[in-house]
């Protein structure tokens, strides 16, 4: 796993201990100081999205509120919006992911998608953090996806 100072395993998935998690969108948020964050898919989000072949992003400097469309993602000829887990201004997109979107599936924690600035700290508080809380949520999410047949047993 890339870019994770600490990690822990839940239901067979390795999770980074230094991130916050959006329980509805299966995204991670990494704080980088001075109101900046990076955003990426957690392993469950990457797996259920499928093999990603293309991503396009909203324009740099776009101001986004929590839940607004940040990108459009394509996997297996399915195209859908990706909404931001926190409000902020789009500062940068990961060019490596633009060129090779499959990196998200291969290394969800290493393949960050975007960097946001001027992030609303109240939005960060909505996200899960800490091994105990994250593990409790993630194990339930894995079980739900398995029951739905969305991921392998």
């Amino acid at each position: 796993m890339s870019a994770a100072a600490t990690s822990f395993t839940v239901a067979g998935y390795e999770l980074a201990g230094d991130r916050r998690y959006d329980r509805d969108r299966n995204l991670w948020v990494a704080e980088r100081g001075e109101g900046r964050v990076r955003v990426g898919f957690d392993p469950l989000g990457a797996e259920t999205t499928g093999d990603i072949v293309a991503i396009s992003f909203v324009a740099i400097a776009t101001r986004l509120t929590r839940g607004a469309a940040l990108a459009t993602v394509e996997a297996a000829k399915f195209v859908g919006p990706l909404s931001t887990p926190v409000g902020g201004t789009l500062l940068a997109v990961n060019d490596e992911v633009l060129l090779a979107p499959g990196r998200v599936n291969a290394d969800p924690f290493g393949a960050w998608l975007v960097e946001l600035g001027d992030v609303d700290p109240r939005d960060l508080e909505q996200l899960l953090t800490g091994e105990k809380a994250v593990a409790a949520w993630f194990s339930v999410a894995v079980e739900r996806f398995r029951r739905q047949g969305a991921i392998a047993e």
Partner: protein, 338 residues
């Protein structure tokens, strides 16, 4: 009261409306609405590209010469030639009711289409996530997306298909690649001329009604759906929309014909490689490199019959050392199939 599946049969419509219809129905969908099965046939031919495909995949001069407008859809997949010999079907349901992974979505929403074709005597099944295939040939192209409040899966049933026109509208490096694409299209994409439109629509109504446990009832677009369809007609006609999102230039040129079948033309530095993959294995390979004269034939031969995966090709090219690694580098982008 029995749950219903609304069936909107728009009949023959303009090219623009044949796309706007199901975009608008999906966009307008609210969480509590019944699913909608829509049908239409475009009155005139056109070319349609998937949301994340660059317009330079098309020979726009050829499209123009053939009188083919180009439209961009907000679902996935590559360029397709569409005309009045194709029936479009679209199944739309509230996003919250859609299966939670893409693979499950296609399983759930395409299997009824395969069942409908089987009822009509076509040996159809879902292959490679989202192709409808019968006797090894693709009989329906499909794509899907989340648009507004709805998730939509769209497919076509081809009563005839002009393979030559499809090959003619693609922008390709040379005519050899066009010939190879045409050969693969003829071998792997098939129309269903024995079927008639009404039988197909009736079978799809029954299959989707049964799969969803709902009664299929004729319907027309509601007011909010009509407004959304009109909005999508304007959007799809907008040149800025047709230009598409900003996307990086592709490294090589890939044309996928059906699941497991594609052609790739790529280069790395001064090494050029072209491969055809059929049923997941390399069946044709050419390698050109000025400094490898004498070895290029052996390099190409080493790929024949090998599964089109990085690991398998790495193993088969390993004996050639750095030359094999260069071939792999040129070929690698073409192993990600779109």
């Amino acid at each position: 009261m029995t749950a219903t599946l609304r069936v909107i049969d728009a009949g023959q419509v303009t090219a623009l409306r044949s796309q706007a219809l199901w975009h608008g129905i999906a966009d307008a969908m609210t969480p509590s609405e019944d699913p909608v099965l829509s049908f239409c046939r475009p009155a005139e031919p056109y070319v349609c590209v998937g949301y994340h495909r660059r317009l330079d995949e098309l020979d726009l001069a050829a499209c123009d010469a053939l009188g083919l407008p180009v439209l961009r859809r907000q679902i996935g997949g590559g360029p397709v030639y569409l005309d009045s010999d194709q029936l479009f079907f679209g199944l739309c349901l509230p996003a919250a009711c859609a299966p939670s992974s893409v693979s499950r979505l296609y399983e759930t929403l395409l299997e009824p289409a395969a069942a409908a074709l089987r009822e009509l005597g076509v040996n159809a099944h879902v292959a490679g996530t989202n192709d409808l295939v019968a006797d090894g040939r693709k009989v329906s192209g499909t794509g899907a997306g989340r648009i507004g409040g709805g998730v939509v899966v769209v497919g076509n049933v081809m009563f005839s298909f002009p393979h030559e026109r499809m090959a003619a509208v693609l922008r390709l490096p040379d005519e050899d690649m066009r010939s190879e694409c045409l050969r693969l299209m003829r071998a792997n994409v098939s129309a269903l001329p024995a079927l008639d439109e009404e039988s197909v629509k009736n079978a799809l109504r029954r299959a989707y009604g049964s799969a969803f446990g709902r009664t299929a009832l004729p319907s027309t677009p509601l007011q909010h759906e009509e407004a959304a369809i009109a909005r999508w007609e304007r959007r799809l006609a907008d040149p800025d929309w047709t230009a598409g999102p900003s996307l990086p230039s592709p490294v090589g040129r890939q044309v996928k014909v059906r699941a497991g079948v594609w052609v790739y033309d790529g280069s790395h530095e001064d090494l050029h490689v072209r491969t055809t993959v059929e049923d997941g294995r390399v069946t044709v390979a050419h390698v050109q490199a000025p400094d490898l004269n004498g070895a290029t034939t052996a390099l190409a031969r080493a790929m024949l019959g090998v599964p089109a995966h990085r690991e398998a090709l790495t193993a088969s090219l390993a004996e050639f050392g750095p030359a094999g690694a260069r071939v792999l580098k040129a070929l690698e982008p073409g192993l990600v199939v779109r």
